[in-house]
Amino acid sequence: MKSFLITVFSGMFLLISGQSLAGDIEAGKKKAAEVCAACHGLDGNSPNPAFPKLAGQYETYLEKTLIAYKTGERENAIMGSMAAALSKEDIENLSVYFSSQSGLATKK
């Protein structure tokens, strides 16, 4: 019974700590300043209407999109080469950073 409880608790702890490791906002901000800011704006509120705003976008959507650009599932000359240079960790960090900024909203 005791070892069962230890297993359950360490499993729960792992789950919680695993989630908090999913993305690092500060690392994402740093990467965003290096790679994304010129077109999408530092906080993701892009000043150019041809480039989408990313600020406040869902983390899962940003992550899915960057992976699709990286694998070539979604084709775009600019974003294809940008995403090719990003690691899985970069993608997670960037996604959590831009999703934490204020900008886009759900409109009914």
């Binding site: 209407p49 989408p52 976008q57 900008g103 009914k108």
Partner: protein
């Protein structure tokens, strides 16, 4: 002579810019009437797709209208692949897209 040609070119390109900008103007009120196809996914906060991958359906409120039109056109032609968005975009004219974009771009 060279100067005149340059002037003409400048004039033409500025006219082109103006007409493109004017074309991109959509009617937000008309767009709002057409959102019936959008709200089931984009109008629900935190809504997620179920298949084949699970992710949040993107927020489009406040997005640049030119980008929204560009995205809808790419879905319509199939340049951007997404089965549901492809189906929806088939029924939208360029004007419909501009109207929807004007509605969603507004605060």
């Amino acid at each position: 002579m060279m100067k005149l040609a340059t002037m003409k070119m400048l004039l033409c390109s500025s006219l082109l810019v103006i007409s493109v900008a004017a074309q991109a103007e959509g009617d937000a009120a008309k767009g709002k009437k057409n959102t019936v196809m959008c709200v089931g996914c984009h109008g629900i906060d935190g809504y997620r797709t179920a298949f084949p991958k699970v992710y949040n359906v993107p927020k489009i409120g406040g997005q640049h209208p030119a980008y929204l039109v560009q995205a809808l056109q790419a879905y319509k032609t199939g340049a951007r692949s997404h089965p549901s968005m492809w189906g929806i975009a088939q029924h939208l004219s360029k004007q419909d897209m501009e109207d929807l974009a004007a509605y969603y771009a507004g605060k």
